[in-house]
Structure formats: structure tokens, C-alpha cells
């Protein structure tokens, strides 16, 4: 969303391929407001792309909520990806490199965790999965 001052939290639906692109673009504008370095922006946007696609493909769609966060004067971007899909029976296995339940390379969860400063996952079989990531400005 170029031109939009991304200070208020933003909720975006994830229901189709193009929504993954929209999440990336919105994530970028939040990263710019938080003044992340170019490399950190790229990492945060890439992680958001992975998690939005996971919600779409494995969760059958869901939503993303992006927000600016602050901690002792330091700005960051937090993104929450929630779906009401089948959930993940074995989270430790899902976070292993190379493991995949779908057509990906199995890097979605484990890879995106390495790209951000904080990564939390809540999942329940039959109820869905919520992943929260945070990237702080340096």
C-alpha cells in the first residue's frame, strides 16, 4: 500500500494468490515506517510471504494482521497470520528443515523463523494455526 502511512494496525484477508502479494506490499510499508534496514525489510517481507502462503495453502485461507510495535523507544513490525485450517499435529517436526506436508520445500515455517527476531506459533489440530512474527529496527 504505497503512500499509506502504516501506523494503525491493518487486517488483510488471505484467500487467493494475489492476497499473498498484498500482504508483502503492506508488510513493506510497515517496515518502511519502522525504519528497518533494507536487508531486514527484505527478510521480514519474505517471512510474511512464506506465512501468508502457508495460511492459504495449508490453512485453507485466513487473515494477516500487521502492526507497528514499540519497546523502549525501539520500533518494530509485528505480523500475525491466523487460519482455521487443520492445525499442525507435530509442531517440532513442522519446524524441522526439509519437512513439508504440501508441495513446498518445507522451508516455510523453519525458514521464516530464521528471518525474524521473534517467532511464536500456536496450533491445535482441527482448530487452526496462528503464527506471530516480530522484526525490530536495529
Amino acid at each position: 500500500m504505497p503512500g499509506v502511512e502504516a501506523t494503525e494496525p491493518l487486517e488483510l484477508p488471505i484467500a487467493a494468490d494475489r492476497d499473498v502479494v498484498k500482504v508483502r506490499q503492506a508488510m513493506r510499508s510497515f517496515c518502511l515506517v519502522a525504519k528497518l534496514t533494507l536487508v531486514d525489510q527484505t527478510k521480514a517481507i519474505t517471512a510474511a510471504s512464506e506465512l501468508a502462503r502457508n495460511a492459504l495453502i495449508h490453512g485453507g485461507g485466513g487473515q494477516a494482521r500487521l502492526a507497528l510495535v514499540e519497546d523502549r523507544g525501539r520500533l518494530g513490525v509485528q505480523a500475525v497470520f491466523a487460519d482455521e485450517g487443520p492445525g499442525i499435529p507435530d509442531v517440532d517436526q513442522a519446524l524441522d528443515d526439509g519437512w513439508s506436508s504440501g508441495s513446498g520445500l518445507g522451508l516455510g515455517l523453519s525458514g521464516s523463523r530464521r528471518l525474524v527476531d521473534a517467532f511464536e506459533i500456536e496450533t491445535e489440530v482441527g482448530r487452526g494455526t496462528t503464527v506471530t512474527i516480530t522484526k525490530w529496527a536495529r
Binding site: D17, R18, V20, V21, R24, Q25, R28, L38, V39, Q41, T42, K43, I45, T46, S49, E50, R53, D97, G104, L105, L107, G108, S110, G111, S112, R114, L115
Partner: protein, 135 residues
């Protein structure tokens, strides 16, 4: 749905990605390239990604698949112009793009194809840098 244009330069197909790639658009590009290789008998494929701000695992896999498909169809694919931040992110992500040949820019990619494959057409092109610092 947007489509990424494919240009023919002698024996080389040139693709320059200037849009934020939807998954479907990336898959269409892969299919279009395979068809164009067969239709034209191209021996080289150059994919310029200098316009891409991010490459995630899906798009990275499409590049790997483009390289593998090209090889099966007797063509060599080179991915050029990856931004430094994208390269660092791919390494963190765990995506090594092992089977994908890369070069820093279009000119160097053409040089690889010209020298390694001795391609017709490419050899005739006079590639002079149009931007300072591009070489």
C-alpha cells in the same frame, strides 16, 4: 492475469521480471518458457530478477524448476541481477538454489552463455554497458 514477456535474442530467451510475482504468474512463466524453448530451439535462457524485491521459497523453487526444465530441453538457464538483500535472505531461508546458475547482471549472464555454450546470435551482440558501474 499478468504475463511476464519473453524476448528472443538470437539463441537466447530473455525474461526481465518487473512485477511482484503472484504464484500463478510465476508458474505461467515457467510453462511459457518451456514452450518457447521448444518452439524457437533456444539454447540459453536469461532470467533478470533485478526488479524483484523478494524471492521466497515458492519463487525460488520456480527458478530451480525453470533451470531444470531448460536443461532437459537442451538449454542453459542463468538467473541474473539478484539484489544483495535477496541473496542474504535466501541463505537465511535455507534455499541454496543449488541447481541454478547465476550471474551478477544481464551482461555477465550473456557472457557466460556466449563463452560456455558458444551460442549463435549472442556472440553477434555488442553488449556495451549503458550505466556506469554496471560492469
Amino acid at each position: 492475469m499478468e504475463r511476464v514477456p519473453i524476448l528472443k535474442l538470437g539463441d537466447v530467451l530473455l525474461v526481465s521480471i518487473q512485477i511482484d510475482l503472484e504464484d500463478e504468474v510465476a508458474l505461467n512463466l515457467q510453462a511459457d518458457l518451456a514452450e518457447r524453448i521448444v518452439d524457437t530451439g533456444a539454447r540459453g535462457v536469461l532470467v533478470d530478477i533485478s526488479g524483484l524485491e523478494i524471492v521466497d521459497s515458492f519463487i525460488g523453487r520456480v527458478f530451480a524448476d525453470i533451470a531444470a526444465t531448460s536443461k532437459v530441453l537442451d538449454a542453459e538457464a542463468v538467473v541474473v541481477g539478484m539484489r544483495p538483500a535477496v541473496a542474504m535472505t535466501l541463505v537465511d531461508l535455507g534455499l541454496s538454489l543449488g541447481g541454478v546458475r547465476t550471474a551478477l547482471n544481464v551482461e555477465k549472464g550473456l557472457k557466460i552463455l556466449r563463452e560456455d555454450l558458444g551460442l549463435r546470435g549472442v556472440a553477434e551482440l555488442d553488449m556495451t554497458p549503458d550505466r556506469p558501474g554496471d560492469t
